[in-house]
């Protein structure tokens, strides 16, 4: 009997569990932002928001932004095989503030900004190599500036969030939209800071933000704000800054795996094939082509055949941008697809070609052709169509193997010629809607209403509506005019 009593008392003594959590499978905030490698990881997390969605959705660059800037423009409509109402609505100018894709873009942009805020606030407190420390903060500032630049162009006035929330109290997060000018001031400050970044990187750092990228985006910011002189200064910094940027001879090389991060690429979002990674596939590839069955439309379609007809038959951009037939290596035959479809982001290095969901094409955020066309536009705005302005646009045309722009155009005609050139050059590259909306007035509306499927367009479409759910949570947010 005594023995059992001893056992009992032993058991009593054994029973005590501590209730403090000491997780060994997750990193918690108090453990992080301590070392150089923490800082590097914090910034990699910022980059990853450009090509990863936390919930496994499509990503900003390579798909979701394209729904607003491509489908929302006069270039594209939805895929006839796509049953997503919200995607279709964006292609037909019938979207509403509750549109899920608009909300997702908003969410993804602010998610990237939130991570940039964390890096910018926390890295300076870490004690390590000051050069690297400054560089990492500047990279994060570039991405914050880039994302706010998208936001301010898509939605206008916007909540300006620069620090991570410190509590779970919803009321503490309620803020008003900041005026566009304050948002731009922040963007310019961030990008200016980023112009102090290195000019180039080597090895495993290639793909990071360079000072050239900061100057180029900054130029676009000033261009959008019609601050032509400032834009010209930034463009000079890119063109004559010793970066060695140039156009590829072959337009196709802009969108191929083998020529990634080449001389024309100023800043690209990095994708890869079979890296053992998750969510690192450029979805636009899948959205353009997925099978040799012409009855199936995997992705968005040109708004109508007039887009294809903008191109001269000898314009090398045409057959890089569109396909009407494709070679099926399994059958050894060409398959005819009828009406032209988008081809730019098809990864031709994939076999079989239908297997585009492992595509590894980078998405070019800004490339040298954009800089040249901005140069043409800015010079024309300052001094009219000067020879220097002509030289810039003709450089882009020459690469496309088309003749020089007609000489002697008026300032207005030259402006329109540059916009047309931009349209042809950047189909599916996230520029068209921005180009239409920055002209202001009814320019976007006039462009959209020409298309029978976009007759629902209105002047209010020059800004996207603030997502309804955001207004529901925070009654301090106002809706854009007309919505």
């Amino acid at each position: 009997m005594k023995k059992s009593l001893i056992i009992f008392s032993l058991l009593f003594a054994a029973a005590c569990n501590k209730l403090e959590e000491d997780p060994n499978s997750i990193v918690t905030a108090s453990q992080f932002y301590k070392t150089q490698s923490d800082a590097i990881s914090a910034v990699a997390a910022v980059y990853s928001t450009l090509n990863t969605d936390a919930a496994g959705d499509f990503v900003i660059y390579g798909r979701n932004l394209n729904l607003l800037t491509g489908n929302g423009s006069d270039d594209q409509i939805f895929s006839p095989s796509n049953t997503n109402t919200d995607v279709r609505a964006l292609g037909t100018a019938t979207y509403v503030p509750a549109n899920d894709r608009i909300k997702k873009n908003w969410q993804q942009h602010y998610f990237g900004i939130s991570r940039a805020n964390l890096a910018i606030d926390n890295i300076p407190n870490i004690n390590f190599d000051t050069t690297l420390r400054a560089r990492l903060v500047r990279e994060a500032k570039f991405i914050r500036g880039l994302l706010y630049f998208n936001i301010v162009r898509l939605w206008g006035d916007a909540p300006l969030v620069l620090h991570d929330p410190t509590s779970t109290d919803v009321n503490a997060q309620k803020i008003k939209r900041s005026p566009k000018d304050s948002v731009y001031a922040q963007i310019i400050a961030d990008l200016n800071e980023a112009t102090l970044l290195p000019k180039t990187y080597t090895g495993a750092d290639i793909g990071r933000v360079t000072s050239g990228a900061a100057h180029a985006i900054l130029a676009k910011v000033y261009l959008t704000r019609r601050e032509w002189a400032k834009a010209a200064t930034e463009l000079q910094a890119v063109i004559n800054g010793g970066y060695g940027y140039a156009l590829f001879d072959d337009f196709l090389d802009v969108f191929q795996q083998a020529t990634k991060n080449g001389k024309e690429h100023i800043f690209s979002v990095q994708f890869g094939t079979n890296l053992g990674a998750r969510n690192s596939t450029n979805s636009l590839s899948v959205c353009n082509f997925g099978s040799f069955n012409p009855a199936v439309y995997p992705g968005d379609q040109p708004s109508d055949s007039s887009l294809y007809q903008l191109f001269a038959s000898f314009d090398t951009r045409r057959d890089v941008t569109f396909f009407t037939q494709l070679y099926n290596s399994a059958t050894g035959k060409y398959v005819q697809f009828g009406e032209p479809r988008f081809a730019k982001f098809i990864d031709y290095s994939i076999s079989p070609l239908t297997n585009q969901n492992i595509s590894g094409i980078n998405f070019p955020v800004i490339r040298y052709a954009d800089v040249l066309l901005m140069q043409a536009e800015v010079l024309n705005e300052i001094n009219g169509p000067t020879a220097e302005a002509y030289a810039a646009i003709n450089q882009v045309r020459a690469r496309a193997k088309i003749s020089n722009l007609t000489a002697g155009l008026s300032q207005a005609d030259f402006r329109d010629a540059v916009f047309l050139e931009r349209r042809k050059e950047f189909i599916q590259e996230g520029n068209r809607w921005f180009d239409l909306s920055r002209r202001g007035g009814t320019y976007l509306y006039d462009a959209l209403k020409k298309y029978p499927l976009k007759t629902g367009a209105a002047v209010k479409d020059t800004l996207y509506p603030i997502p309804q759910s955001e207004i529901d949570i925070n009654n301090e947010l106002t809706q854009n005019p007309g919505w």
Partner: protein, 1038 residues
């Protein structure tokens, strides 16, 4: 429903009705008789027992010493009848005086001992709502015991997620309290507490629907199941009692005799229903119509359509008949010191879809021994290995579902053949992006789960004093799961983010080891004062620790398909491996006092304090009190005259608080997550916060009120239980939507509240009971109403995350039940008259005559999302079960009906199958599509991939009645088998699911794609088809 009501009234009508006149005749004295009525065990006198001379109205009650006295005109001998509440009625031939009548205590329902939290209680003294599962239901063949709970007791609702072998089920006791977390009941197996977490048996290595951890338990080991429902019964489980408690007791040996039992059954299952799809020529003409709608030329000429004929029936190509078998061998016995049971089980079920199935090997040892007079030791050890082959599909717990294998198969074009002329698989379908064949995919893809589980607990009980017992229990539950997945280089089944074909063979292996250990120490004082005051006091301390560790490794690009998942070294490219680990602890103090005055007035109070590591550091401890009262009115002297009719009547009332803390570990911490980026092809790990710290995170609290009545009629030939309850859950653990510009989409907070209220009824009747024939009916009925009262300040509704590209069919909204469907009303198709009248069209979609006509619910002249409204909820208005058992001589027959009424289902599969495209097959309902030649068609005209909206067309009535089992058995008479040394031999045949009534047009109304997600109940995204089948079995005991 009428039938059911009719049956219930019939059973009531058939019940024996007897009554006795209350007057006593003036006697002519021929004999005097004195006697005493005593309890057979204790020999204590029974006061107020009724004694009557049989066949007369001459009756007396025993006095306060248990004595009675007759002066009568009748001569001795004569027959006396003696009756006392709680005791068996007895007839004695009286020939001499004085006479002692000893009555045996009735083992009737109200006097049984039932297992409650941390002990047992006489059913008569219970204050809580506790329901026992009918033994005849428990003996039915089933793969997993949760299948047996459906319709067994009122208030428990079980929904199978699909018909797959070993599939998970959603179990709710009295509705769901929580919105985001933990609505499943707590399981207590032989005193060992288990919160069933299917995450512990699923890794991301395997894909498709989850594996059910409960299916690892051998259902034949179970002796009894009690469901604890109200706070008086569950508050002793404190923070984990809010969702009800399922108390399972396994079989033990009986004293005095060793027994060897063997039982087995064999059977075959087949698909219960197939969907009507288009055949090849019907599909070809649909394609022509779609082409016509876009102005394209016809793909098929009339002669080509005729030549196509029926084409391929892909559904049938993947289905087969699935044999099922079960073997069970047990040895049990005991003597005055020990009892033991050793059992082994083998269960094997082949799925009705090729290459699927479930197998289980299980063994158990239960042992207990008295050491001396004061010490008793007990050990219960259970081990099993379960193997499940399941269909591949989307990743486990993934929001996206597009690649659910069976749903995809239904959409394969019927013009595509399964085989080439030479018998090889046809892989040249122009509608597939990779050259694969779905049937080949089904057969060649390996998607296998092994679960090895050991559940053991040992306890020692020591009587410190005669009525003071110390009990110490230690137990552990070890679950080791290994999952293997291989998609060969020629298969279209998913591998990583693409297919086995595109990744040149994709292998994944995952393992997860989950363990729980518990130590419980209780002290019980069970004392009776003056034979009238029964006091039972329990106090204890328990501690529990859980941890799980998992790892998944995957690789692709295999040079051949020979080694499959077995050797990842053969792969060309490794995919990022993952591992994970969690730990959590729960410390608790508990106390309960039950007092009964003469088994008539009963009170139970309990209190438990729980400290959980998973909650915020400021609110780790929660306190959960309860109070229960009951009154056995039937024992009152004033009730005695009615006792011949109503022999038992008990009224119960209880109130108490229980909790829920089933959030994952580390939910209150500021957690950071990895997300990677590739600079020039080189991976750099990104780390950033994904969760804001919430140090105030605390319990979800449910306050529950319950009133109940238990009644027994005609000496318990009819028993009846009624309960009404109201539950309010506050401080919900809710992922509250957060402004997206903060960088976070939601934060976990304690806000909002939900109510559940309802009634429960169960009725059991021995309609006929004599030596040759018996017929027993049990009916259960429950109605629960669930409503969201609040979602926190400023939030009125939110939509749960829908799969990418789809609109959420469900809404979480104040004033509606959790899991409400939200969409448009439709009114047939647009007619030419509508168009000329200018009825509003759906915003953003060009609509024409023959398209779906949406209803402008809010009358604003436009069809927009503002016109969406509540289309019903997945929560049933009521559920019921009806079982009938008949026995005649050696034959027994049982029928068990079960049903649900008023629940809606969102038939997403049908919505998908009614979208005409140029590449996928569609539902046969499209044969009645509107067209120039069929202007009265009911289904919208064919266009290419029209936008599908959530409409009332696809929110269907999910009510059903099923004849779940029909079983006929015969027990061979003992004299026939005695020579063979067999003490019992029964043979039987059982039909399962052979009859179903439902209006639901999908495969089966018992479907629940997102099984554990409370906000997405009742969604049918295309599940594994359900089965019906026949079994034949025998059980014999030596």
């Amino acid at each position: 429903m009428k039938k059911v009501l009719l049956l219930i009234s019939l059973t009531l009508g058939l019940a024996p009705v007897t009554s006795y006149a209350q007057t006593v005749n003036e006697p002519v004295i021929n004999s005097t008789l004195t006697g005493i009525v005593v309890d057979s065990k204790s020999q204590t006198p029974l006061i107020g027992a009724l004694v009557r001379i049989k066949g007369t109205t001459n009756q007396v009650l025993t006095d306060n010493k248990g004595k009675f006295f007759f002066k009568t005109g009748q001569k001795l001998p004569y027959v006396l009848e003696a009756a006392y509440i709680g005791y068996k009625k007895q007839e004695i031939e009286a020939s001499t005086s004085p006479l002692t009548i000893s009555l045996v205590e009735n083992e009737s329902q109200l006097n049984e001992v039932v297992v409650v939290g941390y002990g047992t209680q006489r059913k008569s003294d219970l204050t809580g709502a506790v329901a026992s599962v009918n033994k005849s239901l428990l003996s039915q063949p089933a793969a997993s015991f949760d299948n047996l709970l459906q319709g067994s007791v009122p208030g428990i609702n079980v929904t199978q997620s699909s018909g797959a072998p070993g599939a998970t089920a959603t179990i709710r006791v009295r509705g769901g309290n929580s919105i985001s977390f933990g609505n499943a009941p707590l399981y207590v197996i032989d005193g060992f507490i288990i919160y069933n977490n299917n995450d512990n048996v699923n890794t991301s290595a395997s894909n498709g629907v989850g594996v059910n951890a409960l299916s690892t338990i051998n259902p034949s080991d179970i002796e009894s199941i009690e469901i604890l429902k109200d706070a008086s019964a569950t508050a002793i489980y404190g923070s984990r009692g809010a969702n009800g408690v399922v108390v399972i007791t396994t079989k033990r040996g009986k004293r005095g005799r060793d027994e060897v039992s063997y039982s087995t059954y064999f059977g075959q299952q087949q698909v219960r229903k197939k969907l009507d799809l288009l055949n090849a020529s019907q599909w070809a003409s649909l394609i022509n119509d779609v082409n016509e709608s876009t102005g394209s030329t016809k793909t098929y000429s009339d002669s080509a359509i005729a030549a196509l004929g029926a084409g391929t029936d892909w559904q049938s190509a993947a289905l087969r008949k699935g044999p099922i078998q079960n073997h069970e061998l047990s040895v049990s016995g005991g003597d005055d010191k020990s009892r033991y049971l050793i059992s082994g089980n083998y269960f094997n079920q082949d799925g009705i879809v090729v290459n699927t199935g479930f197998k289980r090997y299980a063994g158990r040892i239960n042992y207990e021994r008295n050491i001396g007079d004061r010490l008793k030791v007990t050990a219960n050890i259970f081990g099993s290995q379960s193997i499940e082959n399941k269909l591949y599909g989307n990743a486990y717990n993934s929001i996206n579902f597009q690649s659910t294998a069976f749903a995809n198969l239904l959409q394969v074009s019927p013009v595509v053949p399964v085989y080439n002329a030479d018998g090889t698989y046809y892989t040249a379908s122009p509608y597939s992006s990779v050259p694969t064949n779905p049937i080949q995919d089904f057969k060649s893809t390996i998607n296998r789960t092994y679960i090895r589980r050991i559940l053991g607990n040992a306890s020692a009980e020591y009587k410190i004093l005669k009525d003071l017992t110390l009990k110490v229990t230690g137990g552990t539950d070890l679950i080791n799961t290994k999952q293997n997945y291989y998609s060969p280089s020629y298969a279209g089944s998913p591998g990583g983010s693409s297919t086995g074909y595109s990744s040149q063979g994709y292998a994944s292996v995952g393992s997860i080891a989950a363990s729980t250990w518990i130590n419980e120490n209780t002290l019980t004082w069970d004392h009776t004062f003056n034979d009238k005051h029964f006091l039972n006091v329990l106090a204890g301390y328990t501690t529990q620790h859980q941890d799980d560790q998992s790892a998944v490794a995957s690789a692709q690009k295999f040079p051949n398909d020979l080694t499959t998942f077995n050797n990842l070294n053969y792969a060309g490219t490794a995919v990022l491996s993952t591992s994970d680990a969690h730990e959590s602890s729960l410390n608790s103090y508990l106390a309960r006092a039950s007092y009964s005055y003469n088994h008539t007035y009963n009170v139970t109070i309990s209190l438990r304090a729980d400290g959980s590591s998973k909650l915020g550091k400021n609110n780790r401890w929660g306190y959960f009190p309860s109070l229960g009262l009951s009154w056995n009115a039937g024992r009152e002297s004033f009730f005695r005259p009615a006792s011949e009719i109503v022999n038992d009547l008990k009224l119960r009332a209880s109130v108490g608080r229980t909790g829920n803390s089933e959030v994952p570990p580390y939910s209150s911490l500021a957690a950071l997550s990895p997300s990677n980026y590739y600079f020039n092809g080189t991976l750099v790990t990104g780390i950033a916060p994904t969760q804001i710290a919430n140090p105030d995170l605390k319990w979800e609290t449910t306050t529950q009120y319950n009133v109940g009545v238990d009644a027994g009629f005609f000496n318990n030939r009819i028993t009846f239980t009624f309960d009404a309850y109201y539950k309010k859950t506050t401080d919900l653990l809710l992922n509250v939507p957060f402004p997206l510009y903060s960088g976070y989409s939601s934060v976990l907070q304690n806000v909002g509240s939900v109510e559940n209220k309802g009634i429960e009824l169960s009725l059991s009747s021995d309609n006929i009971k004599n030596s040759a024939f018996s017929w027993k009916t049990t009916a259960v009925f429950a109605a629960n109403r669930n409503k969201i009262l609040s979602l926190g300040q400023g939030t009125d509704y939110y939509f749960p995350l829908a799969p990418t590209g789809y609109v959420s069919p469900v809404i979480v909204k104040v004033g509606l039940p959790v899991g409400s469907f939200w969409g448009y009303n439709t009114a047939g198709l647009l007619t030419a008259a509508d168009v000329s009248k200018g009825v509003p069209y759906l915003t953003g979609v060009s609509q024409q005559v023959g398209d779906t006509k949406y209803v402008d619910t809010n009358g604003d002249g436009a069809i927009s999302t503002a016109d969406k409204h509540y289309l019903g909820s997945a929560q049933p208005k009521f559920t019921f079960g009806l079982s009938n058992t008949l026995a005649y001589k050696g034959f027994d027959l049982s029928l068990f009906f079960q049903g649900s009424y008023g629940n809606k289902l969102f038939n997403f599969l049908q919505q998908k199958l009614e979208i005409p495209t140029l590449s996928l097959n569609a539902s046969a309902t499209l044969l009645d599509r509107y067209s120039a030649s069929n202007p009265n068609g009911k289904v919208a005209k064919a266009t290419n991939a029209p936008v599908a909206q959530v409409t009332d067309r696809y929110v269907e009535d999910g009510s059903y009645v099923k004849l779940k089992t029909l079983s006929l058995g015969y027990t061979i008479p003992r004299n026939v088998i005695r020579q063979l040394h067999i003490s019992q031999l029964r043979v039987y045949v059982t039909a399962q699911n052979i009859w179903t009534w439902t209006k639901y047009t999908g495969l089966d109304p018992e479907v629940n794609f997102f099984d554990s997600d409370n906000t997405k109940q009742g969604i049918d995204y295309g599940a594994y088809p359900s089965t019906k089948g026949f079994l034949a079995g025998l059980s014999l005991t030596f």
